[in-house]
């Protein structure tokens, strides 16, 4: 608890980061209360097509070519974005931390093998790999989430590995060996608490990347066909780009704001979790 308040005290100093946190709260609220806000769902044709934003007050952001409410689409789309962003990152986090920690802690041939393996995954152009995976395994929330997780873990694995490699050589970890700690205990009590902060910061950036990747998939028509996503809206809007560009612009702004907020919050986390400890 004391640490949490201390953390918030430091995070609060970055005004922009607090603002970003607010934006994320709003997006999260949209995702949670989507069914309350727009109980009819995003697919319902509620008005006349091609209403520009501001034309009618009850459809604030206008309507698309089928007369569906753009705002309803954005609110419901936040669900897909956040869900896939967070869960895919969790998948990447689990794989990345396991692989990276094992490689960095045990070093030697274990490290060599795991890192060669990671490098292979890093060499395959991630987005291409992503569309291939999703296309072959048929687009659904599950396949998309897993596929994004699979292309995102190498970054985390490398980060965790380098953290483990340096921390393992630190004197305080060596001291753990000298007082007779087991490997598990050293990893859990000495290394992990010190390795985690940069990993958490990077994870926030990976959530952002995952959201962009999901929207790009949907834009290309490889999203879950049963769900309304921001990328799907942009893909649909593209067909009428010349006449109704707001249909492309608005969901894009939603993505931009969310991703921007995540990145700024990541910077804020970084400052709050790694205060430059004064030495000497």
């Amino acid at each position: 608890m004391r640490r949490l308040t201390e953390f918030w005290r430091r995070y609060r100093r970055n005004v922009l980061a607090v603002l970003a946190f607010g934006v994320l709260l709003v997006v999260a609220a949209m995702a949670v209360f989507a069914d309350l806000l727009y109980p009819q769902g995003p697919w319902e044709m509620v008005t006349r097509p091609f209403l520009w934003p501001g034309d009618r007050s009850q459809h604030l952001l206008g309507s698309d070519m089928l007369g569906r409410d753009v705002m309803a689409g954005i609110v419901h789309g936040s669900r897909v974005s956040l869900l896939i962003g967070v869960v895919a990152t969790a998948v990447a986090f689990i794989i990345g931390t396991l692989v990276g920690a094992t490689a960095g802690y045990f070093r030697g041939w274990v490290d060599d093998v795991l890192m060669r393996f990671t490098e292979i995954f890093q060499t395959i152009p991630p987005f291409m790999f992503l569309i291939v995976l999703v296309a072959i395994f048929k687009p659904s929330v599950t396949t998309i989430t897993l596929a994004i997780g699979i292309v995102s873990w190498p970054t985390l694995a490398r980060l965790v590995r380098s953290e483990f490699l340096t921390l393992r050589e630190r004197d305080f970890v060596q001291a753990g060996f000298v007082i007779g700690m087991s490997n598990t205990r050293i990893i859990l009590t000495q290394i992990l608490p010190n390795a985690l902060p940069p990993v958490i910061v990077t994870s926030s950036v990976i959530v952002a990347t995952a959201i962009i990747n999901e929207s790009a998939l949907s834009f290309l028509g490889l999203g879950d066909p049963n769900l309304m996503s921001w990328g799907t809206m942009i893909g649909a809007g593209r067909q009428v780009l010349r006449n109704a560009w707001y249909l492309t612009a608005l969901p894009g702004i939603a993505i931009l704001l969310t991703v921007l907020a995540l990145n700024i919050a990541g910077d804020g986390l970084n400052d709050a979790l790694n205060p430059r400890l004064k030495s000497g």
């Binding site: 060596q174 000298v178 608490p193």
Partner: protein
């Protein structure tokens, strides 16, 4: 009588991209119960590697380490854990040797938890006692390492090493990162702890003057080899190995008169690469007295006079230490 710790023919090689580094090569030494052995040498001489093998942070390439007659170099599991209670380590850098995310209390309690010593309250009491013994207030237990100065942190490191009441503590340059005035505090603390508990130290340092103050017996290393072993007084009065002589001549004395009056033996050149050390005597490339034989034959570490060992062809058993003045040339080869 069996010494507390006996090291025989210990060797450690590191394989690097440039080649195999012979960090420690065929080193033997012993440490008696309650004895302070000083290990001195310049960077790259292998003193830290040797220390880390003795506390079993590094696996020796070959050779044996015995603690009271029992082989310890390859212990596993519970036996290894029992060893940890008897031999501890104090680190050089007080800023990196304490976990920045643990409280001081937690850091000191950990050894007790790992070895299941005492219940929660007992451990708490023990932590307070440890803090008191190293001259810190019990309140320090709730603070984090970064709230302390370098000297205070080093005291915390010492308290951690004491927690398991070991018989031997390897001190790896424990005062090198500290200012002189703080260094004196730590050296005094280490010697008073020794008086109280009869603990043995292997004290590693590059600083001959610190070694001379704290050690009963001094071992001088050069490029992975022991070149000389002597009692602290006899080494200071009559260094026998040309390297020891040069090392002592190079130590700046805080006494302008003495500094000016002594002979200067400034060693030429740099330390050779430990990947391809010179043939024969490793010191010969910088030795002012080297002769042909030094390049051909590796000098063995031999006892010259009671308790004094030297690895140099030019110092022979027949020559008493009386023949050699401080800093003077060693006698000609027999």
């Amino acid at each position: 009588m069996i010494p507390l710790l006996q090291v025989e023919n210990l060797t450690k090689h590191f394989v690097t991209r440039q080649g195999t580094v012979q960090a420690v090569d065929d080193v033997s030494l012993s440490i008696g119960e309650g004895e302070t052995v000083g290990l001195v040498g310049e960077s790259g001489c292998g003193k830290s590697t040797l220390g880390r093998m003795i506390v079993r942070l590094l696996e020796p390439t070959s050779g044996t380490i015995t603690l009271q007659g029992k082989e310890v170099a390859h212990l596993r599991g519970e036996a290894s854990k029992r060893f940890r209670r008897r031999v501890q380590l104090i680190f050089q850098d007080p800023f990196t040797s304490l976990n920045p995310r643990s409280t001081v209390g937690r850091i000191l309690e950990e050894p007790l938890i790992v070895h299941r010593l005492g219940g929660r309250d007992e451990r708490r009491a023990q932590v307070e006692e440890l803090l008191r013994r190293v001259g810190l207030s019990p309140g320090a237990a709730d603070q984090f390492p970064h709230e302390f100065s370098g000297g205070q942190r080093q005291r915390i490191g010492i308290a951690r090493a004491l927690a398991l009441s070991p018989e031997l503590i390897v001190c790896d340059e424990p005062v090198s990162a500290l200012d002189v005035s703080i260094q004196a505090q730590v050296l005094n603390l280490l010697s008073s702890l020794k008086r109280q508990t009869g603990i043995a130290y292997l004290f590693i340092s590059h600083d001959l003057s610190v070694i001379r103050y704290i050690a009963d017996r001094i071992i001088v290393m050069y490029l992975g080899k022991i070149v000389e072993v002597a009692g602290h007084d006899s080494l200071w009065d009559r260094p026998l190995h040309p390297y020891t002589q040069a090392l002592m001549a190079a130590v700046p004395l805080p006494d302008p008169q003495a500094a000016r009056s002594r002979e200067r033996v400034v060693l030429e050149g740099d330390l050779p690469s430990p990947v391809s050390p010179p043939s024969g005597c490793r010191f010969r490339t910088r030795c002012p007295h080297a002769v042909d034989r030094c390049a051909r034959e590796e000098p063995a570490l031999r006892e010259v006079v009671g308790g004094r060992f030297v690895a140099c062809h030019l110092v022979t058993a027949g020559d008493g230490p009386t023949d050699i003045g401080p800093g003077g040339p060693p006698p000609p080869a027999a």
